[in-house]
């Protein structure tokens, strides 16, 4: 059974394994699958399609434009928890022992 997804507050005290700074023309979805592939030592094409976890286009739309400054999204993709804000994406390796 899959562990409960941690809430935003649970990450406050934890140091992320990787932080990706989003620039204006970045698509967050592309940053998610390329970075998780790199962290997992795999090619992007070897990973399970991101679309099987979340709708990548919905994620991109969520952070498209100035209205999104207050938004954030948390989900798990492969062995990482991913926290997306309008400025950056933080990656936390899932502790597979306890989850």
């Amino acid at each position: 059974m899959m562990a409960k997804l941690p809430s935003d507050a649970d990450f406050d005290s934890v140091e992320p394994d990787e932080v990706y700074s989003l620039s204006a023309d970045d698509r967050p979805s592309a940053a998610v699958y390329t970075t998780v592939a790199e962290l997992s030592g795999q090619q992007a094409l070897e990973m399970v399609p991101l679309a099987e976890t979340i709708d990548p286009e919905a994620l991109d739309l969520m952070f498209d434009g100035p209205k999104a400054t207050e938004a954030n999204a948390i989900f798990r993709y492969a062995d990482y928890y991913v926290v997306v804000t309008s400025e950056e994406i933080r990656f936390y390796e899932v502790d597979t022992e306890t989850s």
């Binding site: 023309d25 592309a30 390329t34 992007a44 094409l45 679309a51 434009g65």
Partner: protein, 394 residues
């Protein structure tokens, strides 16, 4: 994210329009608003609830409308307004449809006409697929393929088409980036909607098409607005010329969609019958259209026979329609309902592919159509008489 130039803006508008059309409530709203001056948001909500629950407007209660009204207010109407299809008056909460040309396009009007449409879910999926330019480009490439295509080849074609450069000038990095987006985003969508099949081992994509898809929606990625390859119901005495293989393929495919009674097809060379044509021919058979297909390639004939048993197939043996004064010879012929025709001629070979050009005419009294009828009627009569199993070459 930031829109940098007007072309970019125009392309985004097409995305936004298709996105609007990808929800049946939004299609229904557009259909409601057409031909009316304006409607209040609560009237619109009442109509949607009445339609959903198949009951008279007068029996819809305010309570039943509450949730629909908030979805309209927060989701559907902002989307429709942002894409320029409707205008909202915030003070008196009314909505008016704009004169956006999209809403004069016959194929779009068909799609939003809720009385004739029965498969709402599948239309949702089709428009969802179309709502991104990259996927429209993928579909247009896939529909022009005769064989399954390697995923990487597809990515390279997409890069070349998006940047409008030659395939050999495409960099590996660009192909990798597009291929990753195909793997993670676009291919899953096309698979979900049933547009393609994917062989993970061979890494090949096979185009299956979709009965609700119209050629002009895919081709809108070429221009910056939705255009129609076959104009609504206009008949003209003019003979049109069409240049370029992809334009010819899509015009031929749109004629296949246009046919109501009879579709007469001839392909003199192997490779002219693309996957996109296959699916449209199958759709025509499903609509009850009598389809006659001639091909010199026994593999094509076998394949058609296997996949579409309703099609009458024969082998064109004689020199079909060698045009005496033309520089090329006939490559493909599409004749729909004996009132619309496209005649494609093959020219010089370039990188293994024939240069093609075509002439087309539409309308019962069109000169080209009349000529084709004169030439083909005797042969068509013969085909009809011999029925579905033509053994002797014509």
């Amino acid at each position: 994210m930031a829109q940098t130039n007007s072309t970019e803006t125009a392309r985004c508008d097409v995305d936004a329009v298709f996105d609007c059309l990808s929800h049946r409530h939004r299609r229904y709203l557009l259909d409601l608003l057409r031909g009316r001056t304006s409607m209040t948001e609560s009237d619109l909500a009442t109509h949607i609830v009445a339609w959903e629950r198949a009951k008279p407007l007068i029996e819809v209660t305010r309570r039943e409308c509450k949730e629909t009204l908030s979805t309209l207010h927060h989701l559907h109407l902002p989307k429709l307004a942002a894409s320029g299809l409707v205008e909202r008056d915030e003070t008196d909460q009314t909505v008016t449809v704009t004169d956006n040309p999209v809403l004069q396009t016959a194929s779009v009007l068909d799609a939003i006409d809720t009385t004739t449409t029965d498969s709402h879910d599948s239309l949702d999926a089709v428009f969802d697929v179309l709502a991104t330019e990259r996927r429209r480009t993928m579909l247009s490439i896939l529909a022009g393929q005769y064989h399954p295509i390697k995923r990487r080849t597809l990515a390279r074609d997409v890069v070349a088409q998006e940047a409008d450069i030659d395939e050999k000038d495409v960099s590996v990095d660009e192909v990798d980036a597009v291929l990753a987006s195909i793997h993670h985003v676009h291919l899953p969508k096309l698979l979900d909607a049933g547009f393609v099949e994917y062989d993970a081992e061979a890494e090949t994509v096979t185009y299956e098409g979709h009965p609700a898809l119209r050629v002009e929606w895919v081709e809108s990625s070429m221009g910056n607005e939705i255009s129609e390859t076959v104009a609504s119901d206009e008949e003209s005495g003019d003979i049109q010329t069409i240049d370029g293989r992809s334009n010819i393929i899509s015009y031929g495919q749109s004629l296949c969609e246009y046919a109501d009674d009879e579709l007469f097809l001839l392909f003199t060379k192997t490779g002219l019958l693309e996957a996109g044509c296959f699916t449209r021919i199958a759709d025509a058979v499903d609509r009850g259209v009598d389809v006659y297909l001639g091909s010199p390639d026994s593999q094509v004939r076998e394949r058609v026979k296997e996949r579409m048993p309703g099609v009458t197939i024969w082998e064109p043996k004689r020199d079909w329609l060698n045009l005496p004064s033309s520089e090329g010879r006939v490559g493909r012929l599409v004749f729909a309902d004996r009132e619309a025709v496209m005649l494609g001629t093959l020219g010089e070979l370039e990188q293994g592919v024939h240069q093609e050009s075509a002439i087309a005419g539409r309308g019962t009294n069109n000169g080209l159509v009349t000529l084709m009828r004169e030439l083909l009627n005797p042969r068509l009569g013969l085909l009809e008489a011999e029925g579905h199993d033509i053994q002797s070459p014509l």
